[in-house]
Symmetry: D2
């Protein structure tokens, strides 16, 4: 059974807004990493421990579409869901809202590598958490 | 006549590498901004001045594909080119190399807005610099 | 009457840890800004609104002492207090803990300027919130 | 014989300027790390290799004083010098200029630790480069 979407709130920090007062595009990949990490933690699994077990989830592809700017001090809601997961890759989908208005959307494809950078299968325990095994 | 690709070198800073020793995905949008700004400067135009003239080029879409990790202290070569430009949008293409090996590729679509966030046409002077008018 | 110290928790983000696995020194000024902003919000005042009223609190001095490294995914407790405040400056003191162990300490001196950068007095409403008027 | 001051130029990146248009205080520790790394490189030594030899120079103390704001697209000159160095610590001094005007000053005290975090003596080769052995 698939995981239900995960929601968390993110308060925009002062240096994350640029001279137009808008959250810079480079902040969104950071937020996306937070979304998928907290989603995993909500299943009872820590990404830090996963890395200790030599399972590093690295970003292979990243897409972002911006509809409206987020601004300093906004309290954003980030909704993270999983579109597709196999033993070789996980595709996440991210939606950023402010007061129920969709500001931006993102997608990532993650691959699983050892600390030395060799491709490996996702561990069973992870796939179980994601409702795939 | 279209602009030829622009090349610049970027030395990876210490905090840009994460605990795996790899440049974090969130650094690439920053590098891409540097690439297109320096490309523009090479045509004799300053993006800072463009913004003073109430022409803000904001990222509407951003894509990244990672082939191999960049690491701390690497001297990267960033090649920026323009795939397509109209009075409404500019599509850039970015290629990151280390010793001639392609590490990552990016694409952005930029829109032109006023400082108040209203869509506007790209200024003629900009289109001329980009070889389009 | 002086404000009592404010406590908030901060989860260390993935890109905030460097290749040694330690939170980079450049993250602490960001955390400190969060500490003083949330301390102000707890008194019922928003720093964003303060800036809208042309009162910008800018960092004039910043000091940091590091005792032990913070690491990725740590849940830090940041305790912010005010050492001294006048109509010309505010001195904050910041203490970073993990499980009651002091990891780092910081201090800032803030000045109040208009958006154009001219020095101005702290507004009365702010001094009242800080227990000084 | 002591090392002479090292000068390098730094172009302020777009996301480094905040909504006031000023370089955020959190960028300066990053610049300072660049200054001391390039100073070392100018003596023929790579900090990356030093870390490979299990000599990690970590920030124990950091001070910053801000005189005037730096802004987006400014070309700053960072002058780095060494105030004092022993086998236990190195004290750097940093000065940030724009058009010969001093904008900010910083100081750091670095300690030398192994990758596991144990204090160790600075290596002889490093002290030699710094003119101390």
């Amino acid at each position: 059974m698939a995981l239900s979407p995960h929601r968390m709130s993110i308060r925009v920090r002062y240096p994350e807004a640029d001279r137009l007062g808008q959250v810079n595009s480079s902040c969104y990949p950071v937020y996306m990493e937070m979304g998928r990490t907290e989603m995993l933690r909500a299943t009872g699994m820590s990404y830090r421990e996963l890395e200790s077990d030599d399972c590093c989830l690295v970003v292979a592809k990243l897409h972002l579409t911006f509809h409206k700017p987020a601004r300093y001090d906004d309290e954003l809601v980030l909704e993270t869901s999983i579109d597709r997961a196999t033993s070789a890759r996980i595709d996440h989908h991210y939606r950023f809202y402010r007061d129920e208005v969709l500001l931006a959307e993102g997608r990532t494809t993650l691959a699983c590598v050892t600390r030395r950078g060799e491709l490996r299968r996702m561990p069973e325990a992870l796939l179980e958490r994601l409702g795939l095994a």
